[in-house]
Symmetry: C2
């Protein structure tokens, strides 16, 4: 299997979060030949959703996802504010034509140690948001986060758990497979197969560095870490994924300090050589 | 369920790693009323295995475990040096009368991205070490480490994976359940039940802090984090665990900087109030 061409890549705006606005990301992704973009909502709101949708269309970019809905446990169990925000996220995903709305579901409720309660709240929040998303024609993608984020970001930490939820909730919900979060899982191959074409809604690339110096912002450029990226790509493609390969690198001490055009050029090069 | 009395606790020497030698740990554990101790091998070697065994016996302490064997992938696939070291670890565990030899199995082989190869090497290393351990009357306990250590410390990261290995290898091998590593796992309850009395060989306590500032050395004192410690204790006890509750806290910026007697007094107090 050969590597990825630029047009198979999507730029997640987190990769150049401190350097570029969404307008600059759209322009940069197009200049470097990317096939798509995946905005975070803070940058989307800065630009405005309608102007962003138009600029993305005009640049000929696909939208591999919108980051992110979820955080259902933030205020305790499913506050009106949280649910309203998730409905707005669905609507924004529809406006920009995103392939899916990526869900970071939230961790433990404030001052709680009750993980099963968090699981229940999250599933209820997903179910309600999915109702709205089906009406809006938006697919909902649960992103299982690495278990090191279970307490404070997402209490769904394996593909298996995410797909159990999908099984219960039915049509229109699937998974966003980010290699950083799931690469270590001995059940990963089975769960990718279980997910199948309809539920493999996004595929996110970066790398796991050794050592990793920060739990949040020390992700690696593809090829600089230990994840078998070609192997994982082969697996999701074998089971029907044909979306863009979205590059999302949180890197406070390295890539966020570099010139953004250098970052994108490196992403394109590593897409070819390391994926 | 009431909390733990001091005599139900075991002091893992890592909890006061920079402060105390093994001789001091033995003395301190006894003074504070602990039921046992679990030495790391570096401290054991400093003191000498035979003198340590005698001092532990004389202090009336049980040995809840020896930390640690494993690291099978350190030199690539199962070097003579690694296997010899594991045999020595078994012999030391026998000499000090440890309830089990705790196994931190090792991560990816050097310069490798091949996780299935690491799994295979680890299982072969465990099988060979187990042969020797059976002869020596030593139980072998696989400690699944948190997935954030998959690359560089242990590629067995769930109870499920560890028990799959145990199923294949048979008698004399089980698991060391450290709450820090497994608390997030949606399959944990099922796997504790699956393990059962004979394979629940050790139970390690500390806590998961929010935020966690370092991947290695920012573990919390029981009660300072988000893990449902009474709930997990209830589960392992319900399925037959009746060993000591071993306290192992890596805490470079907090507990390792305090007076060791203060640390042990706090452990005893939190055993009562937070476990």
């Amino acid at each position: 299997m050969s590597g990825l061409d630029a047009h198979q890549l999507s730029l997640n705006t987190a990769t150049v979060r401190p350097q570029w606005t969404l307008a600059q990301c759209i322009d940069g992704a197009a200049r470097h030949g990317f096939g798509g973009i995946s905005p975070w909502r803070d940058k989307l709101h800065e630009m405005g959703t309608d102007p962003a949708a138009k600029a993305i269309r005009d640049a000929g970019l696909r939208v591999s996802g919108l980051c992110r809905g979820g955080m259902f446990t933030a205020d305790g169990p499913l506050s009106t504010e949280v649910m309203d925000d998730n409905r707005r996220a669905v609507d924004e995903a529809a406006t920009i034509g995103a392939d899916c709305l990526v869900m970071v579901v939230g961790g433990l409720q404030p001052a709680s140690r009750d993980l099963p309660a968090a699981w229940e709240t999250v599933e209820e929040g997903l179910a309600r948001t999915l109702d709205h998303a089906r009406g809006a024609g938006v697919k909902v993608a649960i992103e299982p986060l690495h278990p090191m984020y279970a307490a404070d970001r997402a209490c769904v930490n394996t593909m298996g758990h995410a797909l159990d939820i999908c099984d219960r909730l039915g049509e229109g919900i699937g998974v966003a497979v980010d290699v950083y979060h799931v690469w270590w899982d001995p059940n990963l191959s089975r769960q990718i197969e279980r997910a199948g074409r309809d539920r493999l809604m996004a595929f996110h690339l970066c790398d796991w560095l050794v050592p990793t110096r920060d739990l949040l912002t020390d992700r690696g450029m593809m090829g600089d870490g230990v994840i078998d990226l070609p192997g994982l790509r082969r697996q999701v493609e074998a089971h029907g994924f044909d979306g863009l390969n979205e590059v999302e690198i949180f890197s406070a001490e390295n890539w966020w300090k570099r010139d953004a055009d250098e970052v994108l050029a490196t992403v394109v090069e590593r897409g070819r050589t390391a994926c």
